[in-house]
């Protein structure tokens, strides 16, 4: 039955090559922790992806309650955290998930670095990886402001001052992110847009490039 359905779709869309790339490919022995326990380091990339899925899903639920407005942002977070059933879990998943994501990307980067997997022919994927790292840090920075509590406001002020100290274009970057003379309503609106639309779009594009390249090249061989 399933095979028939598969054939029906395959005849029309020729999905076998896609299916092979997605699911029907080999896992070499040297990256499989079932055979060599130390190969768990090869799981960090997949775990990073898992935590990113958690971030995206929990983020979608957060937006159901969150209001990106300086009058109500904090109240909406407080309400979600303390009044909504399971709100603490939703917010907790996104909050702690952010930290777990950072830890996992860090470990994944170290694994790739120390196994020399960035060398020819994987240079381009390494560059995409570094960009991914920075997108994730950017998500962390913009997300920190959104609850609009004391630590959010004052940490963002410092962060924007650092951005302003970039030679030549610093002032321009600051205006672009801050939106007005002070960290206020405009800043919150911009950080919200960057955090939920701009950066995730870039993230998904880079992730697609990352995975397509991995499938093309396969995982690097044993050391």
């Amino acid at each position: 039955m399933l095979a028939k359905l598969y054939d029906w779709i395959d005849e029309r869309l020729d999905i076998t090559p896609m299916w092979r790339d997605l699911a029907d490919h080999e896992v070499p022995e040297h990256v499989n922790p079932a055979y060599h326990f130390s190969a768990f380091v090869y799981c960090f990339g997949g775990l990073t992806f898992f935590t990113i899925v958690i971030q995206i899903l929990s983020g979608m639920f957060l937006v159901m309650y969150y209001v990106p407005d300086i009058d109500r942002a904090w109240d909406s977070v407080f309400y979600l955290q303390n009044k909504v059933a399971y709100g603490q879990i939703v917010r907790g998943m996104h909050h702690w998930g952010a930290s777990v994501t950072i830890v996992m990307v860090f470990l994944h980067t170290l694994r790739v670095f120390f196994t020399g997997a960035y060398k020819k022919p994987r240079e381009l994927n390494w560059i995409v990886g570094v960009l991914l790292f920075f997108v994730i840090l950017g998500l962390g920075f913009t997300g920190y402001l959104l609850p609009w509590d004391m630590k959010a406001l004052f940490a963002t002020k410092v962060g924007l001052q650092i951005a302003a100290s970039v030679p030549f274009i610093g002032g321009w970057i600051q205006t672009l992110l801050q939106g007005s003379d002070v960290v206020g309503a405009q800043t919150l609106a911009r950080f919200f847009a960057i955090h939920v639309f701009f950066l995730p779009a870039v993230l998904l594009g880079l992730l697609a490039a990352h995975f397509i390249m991995i499938r093309r090249q396969g995982i690097s061989g044993p050391l």
């Binding site: 070499p28 499989n32 898992f50 407080f78 609009w148 100290s165």
Partner: protein
């Protein structure tokens, strides 16, 4: 290559008809114990993932995510602190050779060099060797970077005043205070209001709300102060007014 010539397609699509299925290589043709991703490997991965997810959910329930009081730009005494993964940068900017005039060094040059170095790693380290021990420069530099980041992060947590940080961010209950009462009028005409806030919520000095402060203590502190932070003789006026003020604060502090 067909390049489309003489090919038959499914309808008017670009999917070739009868392109012939090329069966994937049998996994036994791969060296070692290679196994199929689906379902063999993925099932195991999912089991590990499920355990991870349960642990993670327990964490979110056991440890509520922190939320400080609503942002108030007027509280300029607040000591800022970024999320933990930016602490190393924050700490770097505290050192004299990376701050003030030299801020560009700490904020741009050092992180910039690290970023460019990371981006160009494949071209800086071009040898064919992949084992870490066989490329000591690359390995050494990365270890140095890791140690510096850990050290800076640790330093920033040691030098941070966590007690004040907890106090300054506390969510203070909003209570309604009778601003037309005689006590409040005295309070707001005295210096107290500047340090203890329009709503007794605290500014430079602590909040009174929920502290349950006895009137006698207020009377005493208003005159003698609490050296060094709370000045002596903060109250200027008659004994009677002081008594009204003390009773007002004592009453409000019970809320």
């Amino acid at each position: 290559m067909h390049r489309g010539k003489g090919m038959k397609f499914v309808g008017d699509s670009r999917v070739p008809k009868n392109s012939g299925f090329v069966p994937p290589k049998d996994y036994s043709e791969y060296p070692g114990k290679t196994e199929a991703f689906l379902p063999n490997f993925l099932l195991k991965e999912w089991m590990v993932g499920a355990v991870f997810l349960v642990g993670f959910l327990v964490l979110t329930m056991a440890e509520p995510s922190p939320l400080e009081a609503e942002a108030d730009p007027t509280k300029s005494g607040y000591i800022p602190l970024p999320d933990w993964y930016f602490l190393f940068l924050y700490q770097l900017l505290k050192y004299p050779y990376a701050a003030g005039h030299y801020k560009v060094i700490g904020a741009i040059i050092i992180p910039g060099l690290a970023l460019v170095g990371l981006l160009l790693a494949p071209w800086l380290d071009r040898g064919p060797e992949r084992r870490p021990l066989k490329r000591p420069v690359a390995t050494g530099l990365m270890l140095l970077a890791i140690v510096s980041v850990f050290y800076l992060t640790w330093e920033s947590t040691v030098s941070h005043d966590w007690k004040q940080a907890a106090e300054q961010g506390k969510i203070v209950k909003k209570v309604s205070i009778d601003k037309n009462s005689k006590g409040y009028k005295i309070y707001s005409s005295q210096s107290c209001v500047n340090c203890h806030g329009q709503n007794l919520e605290g500014q430079v000095g602590p909040s009174f709300i929920g502290k349950n402060i006895p009137a006698s203590l207020v009377e005493q502190v208003a005159v003698k102060g609490i050296p060094p932070k709370m000045p002596a003789n903060a109250f200027k006026g008659s004994k009677k007014d002081l008594k009204t003020l003390a009773e007002f604060i004592a009453k409000s502090s019970k809320k």
